[in-house]
């Protein structure tokens, strides 16, 4: 008897459970508008590219409809059918226009432009669509970047003009290099520490001295060139061209030497950074090992002792 009662109770429970699930599902689907009446419209286009079934139609940023069907007409055009729910039908009014938006980032969608004052469009009616010009759109998006690029080019031009002047930072730097090389050649202990070889140090000092001499020569020659080009006399054209060739060769030499110096300076800098990193790593490792030793001590010794014992 009691068993029958239990069976009835279980049966009631299962029944109630399924009824509740079904009712909840119905409510959810109803809320989502699944059972709402939908109104279909269509538009035609030359290509189905960028369109897909399920693609949203937006009004003021809200999804109000979706593309239901894409079909190829006999004349080669494409008929695209979309539908909107009953509550959104008012946005598909007479003279409304669709605009295909293809953003550079994100999925494409159709934007609806309509006036609420116009009466709703009859179901199944044709709606006009405008396909936006991709290249123009892209250019309009790239305009800020192009503006920035132009600014950069202008700035680079200004910088090069400034560098070419006599009182520029470049000339100051060249003077500083001379000072630096003088100092290095007077005291070679630092360089020997870096190179680890007295011969290598001497070679570097010689190279630097040569560089400094070439710098001075370059400056003189550049002044010569300036004078020559301002006069442009026939009799000095040939010497000036020689001077320019010489200048070119010297500049190449200077470039090579500066590159070598740059490499040395960079490598010294990188050693410094690496040493600092290694030091930090060692310090972190030591701290960790100390923590580990504390734990080992705690395991092997009296955990409750809080006073340092006097031996």
């Amino acid at each position: 008897m009691q068993y029958n009662k239990m069976k009835i109770a279980v049966g009631l429970f299962v029944l109630t459970f399924f009824v509740t699930i079904a009712f909840s599902s119905f409510l959810i689907l109803q809320e989502k508008g699944t059972f709402d009446k939908r109104y279909s419209f269509y538009f035609t286009t030359q290509s189905a590219n960028a369109f897909s079934v399920g693609m949203p139609l937006k009004f003021s940023g809200f999804d109000i409809g979706t593309i239901d069907e894409i079909a190829l007409n006999d004349d080669g055009s494409v008929k695209i059918t979309f539908s909107v729910a009953e509550k959104n039908r008012k946005w598909i009014s007479e003279h409304c226009v669709l605009l295909l938006q293809k953003p550079l980032i994100g999925s494409p969608h159709i934007e609806i432009y309509s006036s609420i004052e116009n009466p709703p469009l009859e179901e199944g009616a044709l709606v006009e669509i405008i396909i936006s010009d991709d290249i123009n759109g892209m250019i309009s998006k790239l305009e800020p970047a192009i503006d920035r690029l132009i600014n950069i080019i202008t700035s680079v031009d200004a910088i090069t003009s400034k560098l070419s002047s006599e009182d520029s930072d470049l000339f100051a730097t060249i003077k500083n290099i001379k000072l630096f090389t003088d100092k290095l050649s007077n005291g070679d202990a630092l360089l020997t520490t870096v190179t680890g070889d007295a011969h290598a140090t001497q070679s570097l000092i010689d190279a630097l001295n040569t560089t400094a001499a070439i710098m001075e020569e370059t400056h003189k020659i550049s002044k010569d060139v300036q004078g020559v080009t301002s006069n442009l006399k026939q009799d000095i054209l040939t010497p000036s061209s020689q001077a320019i060739q010489e200048l070119n060769a010297i500049m190449k030499d200077v470039k090579q030497k500066l590159e070598a110096l740059d490499g040395t300076v960079k490598s010294v800098g990188s050693y410094d950074t690496q040493l600092l990193e290694i030091k930090e790593q060692i310090s972190a490792g030591l701290t960790k090992s100390n923590q580990l030793m504390d734990k080992i001590d705690a395991l092997t010794q009296d955990e409750t002792k809080t006073e340092v014992p006097l031996p």
Binding site: M293, A298, E303, T306, E307, P309, L310
Partner: protein
């Protein structure tokens, strides 16, 4: 049953891993590190001992506890004295003004062998009767009082008594140090024995032993 045991083990492991450390962990860590230092110093593991000492000091400093720091410095000084390195405990003296525990100053007085100024009752227990006998100049009794003391106290006390020890007493201490494997103390007491022995052959034999033991 096996499953139950496994579950119990995992639970125990979990509870162990999640065990909260006491907030005064630094005190325990400092005490443990110093104890480790004591053993490693006497055993002659200098590199490890230095690390232990640094940890003990760092933990004491973490708590800003000058009493603990003073104990470490005094302990350090005592251990140096125990292996025959005279020490004025300068580290302790530097911070002595920030400590209020009279037993620390008393211990320092003992280490400086200023027996007249010692208050025996304020010393750590192993030294109570030792200090009393020292004040009475009863050196044999003072040495005997160290019999049951912890090995480190025994070595310190014996070092303070060095001038008054017989060869047998020095050998006794040497045996104790040897039993614990405290190489530094063994070497020191061998040196003391070399001084105490008058026989040239004995001296030579001890010197040879020291030389062999010092070799790596």
């Amino acid at each position: 049953m096996k499953l139950f045991s496994l579950l119990a083990f995992i639970l125990l492991l979990g509870s162990g891993c999640s065990m909260q450390l006491p907030p005064n962990q630094w005190q325990i860590q400092s005490a443990n590190a110093f104890e480790s230092y004591t053993k490693n110093f006497l055993a002659g593991h200098d590199a490890v001992a230095t690390g232990d000492l640094k940890r003990a000091i760092a933990h004491a400093k973490a708590g800003g506890d000058f009493e603990s720091l003073a104990r470490i410095y005094l302990g350090m000084c005592a251990l140096r004295i125990s292996v025959g390195r005279p020490d004025k405990c300068s580290e302790y003296q530097e911070i002595a003004e920030f400590t209020s525990d009279p037993s620390l100053k008393n211990y320092y007085t003992l280490l400086q062998n200023n027996t007249e100024a010692i208050e025996p009752s304020l010393l750590p227990r192993p030294y109570n009767s030792f200090a009393e006998h020292m004040q009475k100049k009863e050196y044999a009794l003072a040495f005997a009082s160290l019999e049951d003391a912890p090995i480190s106290s025994k070595l310190i006390g014996a070092a303070l008594l060095k001038e008054h020890l017989s060869i047998a007493q020095a050998e006794n201490i040497l045996e104790s140090a040897s039993f614990y494997g405290y190489k530094k103390s063994v070497l020191y007491w061998l040196g003391v024995l070399e001084e105490l022995n008058e026989s040239t052959s004995e001296k030579e034999a001890i010197r040879k032993k020291i030389e062999i033991l010092k070799r790596r």
